[in-house]
């Protein structure tokens, strides 16, 4: 898909929202000397074209997620994307990527506490058809986590 082109007003709106995602259309309009209706229309246009989105990012802690695990999954005997789609249905799995590498699928998983780990790994994930091997890494320190460019 070709990337839609943004003009300077679009990028100015994005810049202001990067600093304050909850700036009102009126506040943005005043800073850019346009009307609030124009700001509203531009935002709508960019969101409809899936160019950008303003998101409320909540910390793992706000959800009570204390255990973050990075899992590498090897698949055997089944289409990798089909396995990935089944994994994506589990709400504890925050991201699913089909990989070119040692593991076929990489997952980021958030759980509330360690007592959930065993059931989640060995029943929920291992129970999906085609999952042949799981390599797990438990996060002890998340030093940097800045995803501003995402698949929308």
């Amino acid at each position: 898909m070709a990337s839609p082109t943004l003009d300077s007003l679009d990028t100015s709106i994005i810049d202001i929202l990067r600093g304050n995602g909850r700036a009102t259309n009126q506040e943005i309009a005043e800073r850019l000397s346009v009307t609030a209706a124009t700001v509203s229309a531009r935002l709508q246009k960019m969101e409809d074209a899936r160019v950008m989105r303003v998101v409320a990012v909540t910390d793992f802690a706000a959800h009570g997620y204390n255990v973050i695990i990075a899992l590498g999954v090897q698949v055997r005997g089944r289409n990798v994307r089909d396995v990935g789609r089944d994994l994506a249905k589990l709400p504890e799995i925050l991201s699913v990527n089909v990989m070119n590498g040692d593991h076929d699928i990489e997952l980021l998983v958030a759980l509330r506490d360690f007592s959930e780990v065993q059931t989640f790994l060995f029943q929920h994930i291992a129970g999906i058809d085609g999952v042949a091997h799981i390599a797990s890494g438990i996060a002890v320190d998340i030093v940097k986590f800045e995803f501003n460019v995402v698949p929308l």
Binding site: F60, A62, G84, S95, G137, D141, I142
Partner: protein, 164 residues
Amino acid sequence: MILSDGRARLDMLDQRIVAKLARDARISNRAIAAELGVTEGTIRTRIRKLQSEGLIQFTVVTDFRMAGSPNLCMLGIDADPSHISDLARRLSEIPEITCVVALLGRYSLLAMGLFTNIEQLNDLMTDHIRSLPGVQRVEASISVHNLKYEAGIAKITRGGPSDG
């Protein structure tokens, strides 16, 4: 628990506010207040508190296409245990690396970044990462397809802009 830092859990009202914001980050305080039957001032105060505690932040995410459709690359790094903290800090300083996690298990550290070409990734690995003190092995893999990404849940690791 390893990742929790003693911050108070959200009460019912906080949770309901967060749920509204997760659906629409730009919903007005007034609209949230009306829907939840509390005052606009209460909503403003609650959101400010969540922001100052680093539990919520409002930001813009742009689509992959706007950055030249990069691929997410993951680097699994095995390292000398005495160097891990230092390495995590050095990796975080590399602008192309957007995520650095110290792990127990499969690797010592997991680093991620978005790259539009393999050469750029290779240069970073050979010139900047393999040569860092304590690095024993770097295993790279490239995402060829993203099937799920929750943009709304993350580790808030830097002080977000103060807004409200």
